[in-house]
Symmetry: D2
Subunit: 382 residues, 4 copies
């Protein structure tokens, strides 16, 4: 056996997401970064490679070069999969080319700028049978997985109500400073038609669908564009309805002063309820009719045995963002090992190309609903 | 000087709200309960009176009798005001008759079943100049008052976003038990067209308007009626827009398993934000751009001097539901003392008949919106 | 039946504790303040009486005058009990005289300055059979009572460990300001030999004994006297051992910057544990081996039925300091009603003269231990 | 440049701490595990190596073999440092031999079983100039570092009071089950004279010294040995005094039912105070006289710029146990890079051999104090 070999697209010096993906991939000692097309020039790409102690020969000037050259290496030496950590508008082309050339893919979210692109990737993944993981990292949290399993098992009865919010405040600072640290996020040609919808709304959407194991069938969105000249949404309030008739609301913002990364979800069923907050991610608050509130913790008393195994450390030793992110890589890697042996596993537990399509549909439906004064709109229609 | 004299309508043995109003009125030693029409028969009413150590002569068989007989007593001996703690459908008649006969009024919420009734009471109060307090008790909380004052003073800038929820779970228990402890709440002829909207939604509506000092101009409501044969709403998700363009969402429920009395509000402005939760009512979480989160507490460091005076005990000594409720009575009583001296005070700090009208309009607008698939609807149109 | 009649010693205009006792006594409509010796002169006492809407004839210039004159009134008209809310050094004389003249007593803590005085009061109470309540208010909290009952019932097994702290910071402000709002607290002739020990340490001591239903048999105290020229303790760290061999630690301070009124206790048994914090008094955190943490709340799921009745309002509606304080008065009043009928109740649930003795012994033992470099010292030896 | 090369002693299949050290070392991509003496036989050691995708030639049957064989490899190929993750009684020999043969060392805590051994290691480290890191991981937390820096900078004034606790409950489960998952922990010949003192007390001791940047000068310890036949402490209450006269208390336990890993510290100064809890490790509660409580967060508003750099992810994205652990490795690795270039850095920020000596002295002093009925005892005397 050997470590899985990863080639990165994006993640050059100064990139935040590149470091996150590298640390997440490295954590469990299962995946080895062997090279990448880290930047837009070969020189910059090799500089990043040197800082990572990589062989410069495997640091390329473009993803096209990386894919073509790696393809010529023998299996076991060449990269096993491509991980794409570029800005939103630079996901589609490398994902497409990687799949077309036989490489498995890990890709940051949202998967693509348009629904059409997303469906193209989805088709390619289906046709080729290659694995595709979308890094909706929050679904990697142990307590999120416990919540999902409780709901799937019917522990809290039929779902009747869902409430989610994802609130950040960093754009308020920028409004204040008349500046932007990440200019591509405000540019529709680079981030797509969704602003906060793409950046954080898709996380909330995926978290709702993951935890409830149900689809959102229609949404009504009232979006905000706070700040002079702002064209993309940076705030939004949404109603939604789920496939079983459950109703919900979602509020998102990146101009909510003081909020750091406040993703939270509450699911109410006919027998019980669960609450989870990303900033306090090691607590799952659970209630059943007639019983006091219970606080479930990773590896703690009362959680499912298979969820216990999600934790790398014993109860009371907090795992956080990187560990949840690493769980996406770990579950993808575990699946990939079986694929390399021409086996498979029944329900691999990581977000897939299917979530990628749904995410972009969510963005399109929300923007369309907002244009129509928050009229009910179906993501599946896009 | 003497204590203010209160006559109660409703609140017989076994009533919950009667005890709450009596304790709240008694807390500051300013108001004395001298009698009441506690129940539907004279006998029951006197039994309640005995349990409260009252003079049985002042315990009446009906509110009509109380109002007419008390009116014949000289000022200073007769009751100064009527407090109405009956179920929703029994607010209008005693409130109307009290005002028509020169008695000031304290009334539980929602003020009346219909907008028409509410406007009748509003007109009567205006014409007579009598005082009218509506017991939206949560606006009596010290930290709610601090939040309002900060917002009015512009401390957090222009309001851009408001999120509120009011979640209870006790009706889920009842669904489970196929029984109901408070049958009038499920009966439209007794509770009006709103179920949870009336019971808790009006509290959330008033809290939003009180804290932001702004009106809600339109709402889009998606209501739920969980449980077989349920005709009144017991769950709801709402979008709303405020007079300055701020947007918000509200979610309410009485079938949210495990929730006790989870009323909470977050207000985001261009410079800062505030968060308050009723179940943790002595903490106001405040954030300003560039500063760590700050936790304001009653009588604690950093709060406004006049807010400090709202507390009866020093910092760290929790006040709760009854104390906030008592603040409505205290502020009403303070106003009433000035009225008895033919003086007045500029902005008496308690919810009034005006809030009563707005509350019923909120219910009507939400029900109408829900009928129209959550179409935007203006409370002021009702 | 009639309300119980209370006469107050102390609590003149400007007094904080007077207001607390009056509100607590008034809350349940069972006790009526009819008069008092509120201040050191008749004039001031009557001024207080007027502000409280009292009959000035019942407002006296001294506690001696009050006791002697009230004694001449017929039972039912005269006061039923004396409540003593003066500074520490003014508890003994009025308590003694009240008991000697047939009046039941409610008294603030610590009961007296010296152990000798405390034992004198204890003897008098035993001899006369009169009721005596000491207002260790925190034992009035619903969740404290739930904790005690769980421990007494053996729910958490044998107690093996207790940790308590009581931390305030207001004296740090005063150090800073070179001033003191309550000068008698720093004067040994007026507050006794204990500073923070008397003020807050006795609360922690009583809370430990109340919740565990066990005595503290020996303590080792390392006290601090922070600030120039400070002679009385304002900080302390203590080890203690309990009658069953359980061990514990206690830390107290009034110079702990930022702490408001942070009284907290944790009790660990062989089967479970409980945690309670006064500033978050409506949550009792309970753990049993093999089960997730459970959060008990007043009137919430899972608590004992008789504890449910301690709450005046339904779950989720916070009660706090005044309500807990009022529970001392309510339970004393309930007992007093039976005493007036020459009946009694088996285990009246309020702190008594016995707690008063133990509290002063605790102070003496701690001061003695500290003098001997934190040597183990037995409160019962004093 | 190249990655630093690590050889592990201990950490075979089934070992918990081995995995922790490997993940922590891998996280930042700076350190490469190249081999180890993972188990007591060559066969088992190679099996572990295979599971980690290592070259079997570098997997040895004993630490002696590893050290001698690696020493023969050229610098750059041979391991740069040894990391020791064996049970307590197996730290001394490999640490000693590694230092004697020119290898830098990372070692789990407590450093050795006896003070004598600890001083031997300390002398060797001094003589050889080799680097030695002791993995007191909690001092790697960003908020712990913020607290230390605030205190060192005088932000909260002179320290007057410290309170710490470290509570776990897992041994209570074992008492219940009449079994032990880690038998060496209960065996004095393998864990030394301290039970919980060694396991968790040394963490609390080091955390206090790290955050306050002061020594503990004397302690008074009252230890508990809960459970039949228990010879080593599994519970303890301690008083302590610090070099500047500040006083404190510490309570530790491994039989505190329900506690997961509840390490917490509060430090009170003359101007402010700080509070930190390991289970909620991304919040540092800070108070200054006259200001509301402030909540500092990693990378959040108001923290020192150099502390901001401790975080690998932006504010609101929780880091936990492994990240803090990784900071020990990162700071050790950074120091080691400079050492490899014959440079050094002024104050490397990781626990050293000096902390190792102090930790064992703390254990010895506590056990001695307990033997003498909690008499004051000086760690430095051992």
């Amino acid at each position: 056996m050997r470590k899985l070999r990863m080639g990165m697209v994006g993640g050059g010096l100064g990139s935040f997401m590149g470091g996150v993906h590298r640390k997440a991939a490295a954590l469990d000692g299962m995946i080895e970064l062997v090279g990448g097309a880290f930047s837009s020039t070969e020189e910059k790409s090799k500089a990043t490679g040197r800082s990572l102690y990589l062989n410069e020969d495997r640091c390329y000037g473009s993803f096209e070069e990386m894919i073509l050259k790696e393809k010529q290496l023998p299996l076991g030496e060449r990269i096993d999969f491509v991980t794409i950590v570029t800005p939103n508008h630079l996901h589609f082309e490398p994902a497409k080319m990687a799949l077309e050339n036989g490489f498995h893919v890990v890709c940051d979210k949202p998967m693509t700028l348009t629904v059409e692109q997303a469906k193209t990737i989805e088709s390619l993944a289906k046709e080729t049978g290659l694995l595709f993981a979308l890094t909706h990292n929050y679904s990697g949290n142990a307590m999120v997985k416990q919540a999902r399993q409780m709901i799937v098992n019917g522990d809290i009865g039929d779902i009747i109500k869902v409430q989610a919010h994802y609130l950040q405040g960093w754009m308020a600072d920028e409004l204040d400073e008349q500046a932007s640290i990440k200019p591509w996020r405000a540019d529709p040609t680079k981030s797509g038609i969704g602003g906060s919808l793409a950046d954080i709304g898709t996380h909330a959407d995926q978290l709702i669908r993951y935890i409830t194991a149900m689809d959102i069938t229609e949404i009504a969105a009232d979006l905000g564009r706070i700040g002079e000249g702002r064209t993309l949404d940076n705030d939004g309030n949404l109603l939604f309805r789920m496939e079983n008739g459950a109703k919900g609301s979602m509020t998102i913002s990146q101009v909510a002063v003081g909020e750091e990364n406040d993703l939270a979800i509450r699911v109410y069923g006919t027998k019980g309820s669960i609450k989870w907050e990303q900033e306090n991610s090691t607590r799952l608050r659970v209630q059943f009719i007639g019983k006091p509130e219970q606080i479930y913790t990773p590896d703690g008393y009362g959680i499912y045995d298979n969820i216990r195994e999600v934790s790398r450390v014993p109860k009371g030793h907090p795992e956080g963002y990187l560990e949840a992110f690493a769980n996406i890589y770990k579950n993808f890697g575990t699946h990939l090992y079986t694929a390399l042996e021409n086996k498979t596993i029944e329900k691999p537990d990581y977000p897939t190309v299917h979530d990628g399509v749904k995410g972009v549909q969510f963005i399109y439906a929300a923007v369309e609903s907002d244009k129509n004064n928050a009229a009910w709109t179906k993501p599946a229609d896009f």
